[in-house]
Symmetry: C2
Subunit: 200 residues, 2 copies
DNA sequence: AGCCTAAACGGACTTTACCCCGTTTGCTAT
DNA sequence: ATAGCAAACGGGGTAAAGTCCGTTTAGGCT
């Protein structure tokens, strides 16, 4: 049996990763996402620039890592939190709850999510596919009759994650309170889901 | 009456804009979007770097301009082309046709669209809002009964424009022929629209 | 304990987007 | 024509992302 252990990450590497992530969070809180620089991060963390790049590959890699951590926490709630977000409730109710929770999550993290985009890579992927899978499963449980559940789940996912981008794209100068957007998008999502899952 | 004419763009400026746009198209065709550099563009066009930035502000500005031109052409078809894409057909049929055409357009231009994103700005906006407005109008004509037509049109727009990103995010290495994606997304869109506009 | 190697580290170097400002040029009113 | 000026041009300068490679170190092995 070859490769019993591909020799995991070294202790100092792990330590430095944590340190960098934490420092990044500080810098974001202090100066805002777009003013976080690799040099600045390295210096504040007391490490070399080469180290930062070794750990995260690219600038957006840092934000991907950050987002990933937040994402994991979010999924935790979905997989084993209390209903209706967690398991145990009616599938349609869970879909609605999921959408609302997801919107709140995206609103809270949009700056980081945006910075996680990378011009050189296809697209970070990461979270959206998880979202899509969850939606797909719930749709199946809800017994929706449609030619292609896959296609529908792709579009619902987009309908869920996309509006935020559209919303931000148009706001420009005026920045209405997050609370309102949260509610508007949540209500729309609920209406959409209920209309689609309605049995004629 | 002040500002009779804010003194329009100078002739040489117009000429150079065209030239830069055309050169950009060449470079994209030759080396791919992500290898187009501002220096390279300026040199090939026989102009100074400063000029390029004066015209487009930022690197992504170039791609926004490029996309804008393509977009205008597309909207032309929608506003005064033959039905069902153009005016004259049943609203639901037009919605379906619009979605299919839009998907094809996005697939054809996704590389440029992606490059048009700008880390420093909210989001290019530009086209999506037009798309949304059109959808909004058609929904109104189709007499859909929903609490918020605005919310619905935002989400439908996202459902239309978003899947492409999701699709691209997951493909990674394998790149299935565009034709198939085109059809899959088109069919899904049609199913979604018909389900939503169906009168129970 | 001491050795050995793969992994991690650091920082100088390169590339590229973007800024600045002195110079040039198309327009318009005389 | 031509003078005046706002606008356009050019290219050197700066900052930040990303690369390279020589140096250091953790941690398994003898």
């Amino acid at each position: 049996m070859p490769f019993g252990k591909p020799r995991g990450e070294r202790a100092d590497a792990v330590r430095n990763r944590e340190r960098l992530l934490e420092t990044a969070r500080e810098l974001i809180a202090e100066y805002g996402v777009e003013h976080v620089t690799m040099d600045g991060l390295a210096e504040r963390a007391g490490l070399g620039k080469g180290t930062v790049f070794r750990r995260f590959g690219t600038r957006s890699g840092i934000f991907q890592a950050l987002l990933d951590a937040a994402e994991r926490q979010f999924q935790e709630q979905v997989l084993s939190g209390p209903p209706p977000l967690g398991p145990g409730a009616d599938p349609v109710a869970r879909l609605v709850a999921y959408g609302r929770a997801r919107i709140a999550f995206l609103l809270a993290n949009h700056a980081v999510a945006r910075a996680a985009l990378d011009r050189a890579q296809p697209i970070p992927a990461g979270d959206a596919s998880v979202s899509q899978l969850h939606i797909r499963v719930l749709l199946g449980q809800a017994d929706v009759r449609m030619p292609s559940l896959d296609g529908l789940s792709i579009q619902l996912t987009a309908a869920l994650e996309g509006p935020l981008l559209l919303y931000l794209s148009m706001s420009g100068s005026s920045v209405p309170p997050t609370r309102d957007v949260d509610r508007l998008l949540g209500d729309s999502w609920q209406a959409l889901v209920e209309r689609i899952t309605a049995t004629p």
